[in-house]
Chain length 134, copies 4
């Protein structure tokens, strides 16, 4: 398993009139978690896009157990539990400062060749970097 | 089943550098779909909140089949398939202007009493209005 | 002067923990107002981009007199007061349902040729359509 | 003058189909800059709200000289140039990784007593903390 952990400070713009982080804003947090987990491997999501791979999200699901609030310093654990092929799955757990699990989530993304618009295999260097963790 | 249909024009702010509607922005679209489906029943989500009910989202999942693009006029069908108790489930289908299904989704929301912070039953007038469709 | 008027219903995702529309979200509303004012002229912002013109915002300023709230149906008046050259200025007035002026704003956008990345003149058909109002 | 400097990594969700950071998203960045500049003084924006002060934005203006892009690590300098009374003004300068100035901005916020809804003086401890820099 490949595990990364990131911290995100809740912004005012991300709260709603209930005082909670708006449920849709976690999608952006998880994106940041994915990007940072790649950076920890030694390369960037941006570089992958610039090389011609795009990774649109295919499925996304969240279970919200507790709300998060303005200025909370959240910890997101992001996990790749299986070596990716044409798809890659990330699992997430979000914790608040009291170390309470506030939600769990998962996304599946598809590797797409930007030129052909067709699904393709993950870049070899990415698979090589991940393999060390399996 | 209670079915409503709404139209949403994709805003520039909702696109990302792939040129797609950012995957997290559909959460806001589905919220609009829920709010409008209540309005079609003769009352508003806002009034329910003002009366002391909040409805945080408990689960949310989406399957993205096709992207949507800037200025697309999307059609979202929102369905309540079962009479709610302490929870209410909404199902969604999003279509583009070519009438292609671009994603399907579902959310489960929980009725919470704002004062006690505890789950509670849906307001009686809401259940009465829904019952006609079942 | 060229004047258009649009309606925007405030979404839950656009509110913040004060219960107000987050101050940054008006930028998106004004973008919608600009897009709709072009549509009223008979063409679209999207088509202009597809033809090779991009219009990044150069200056943006707002004066917030009153807040807007969830589910408010806002009216935005958008005005072009001078025929554009390499730049185009839009002025905005936002009103709530009580017809109270809640903010005023202005944006200046620059016509950029997508291929060269350089400022350019506004498309001729756009100027022709606008001229009728001056 | 009281000066703080913060770093913000551009998120995918903050880009638009031009590939730029959407012009409205800087409002959220500047909010983060304000919050961190208060934290550097030894207290939080959140605590001020919890104590009964809200600080809605009264005026906001930006001049965009250059775009920012996905994954850029931006530096925002935020400055308080005058001791606040009932209003506080923040000035901002945003730089990219090449140390190019990409925009300048300013916001004026008003201290409001949450209970009365009326403008009020800034909290004494806040003024005391700021005074050291003037």
């Amino acid at each position: 398993m490949y595990l990364s952990e990131i911290q995100i400070r809740v912004r005012y713009s991300e709260t709603d009139r209930m005082g909670y982080v708006y449920y849709g804003n976690y999608a952006g947090y998880f994106e940041v978690a994915r990007a940072e987990s790649l950076r920890n491997l030694g390369f960037t999501y941006k570089a992958m896009e610039d090389e011609g791979f795009i990774l649109p999200v295919f499925t996304f699901s969240v279970k919200y157990m507790r709300p998060a609030f303005y200025d909370d310093l959240l910890i997101i654990k992001v996990m790749v539990r299986e070596l990716p092929a044409a798809r890659i799955r990330f699992d997430y757990e979000t914790y608040n400062e009291k170390d309470e699990l506030i939600n769990t989530a998962e996304t599946t993304l598809v590797f797409i060749n930007k030129v052909t618009g067709k699904p393709c295999a993950a870049p070899a260097y990415f698979l090589d970097a991940l393999k060390k963790f399996f």
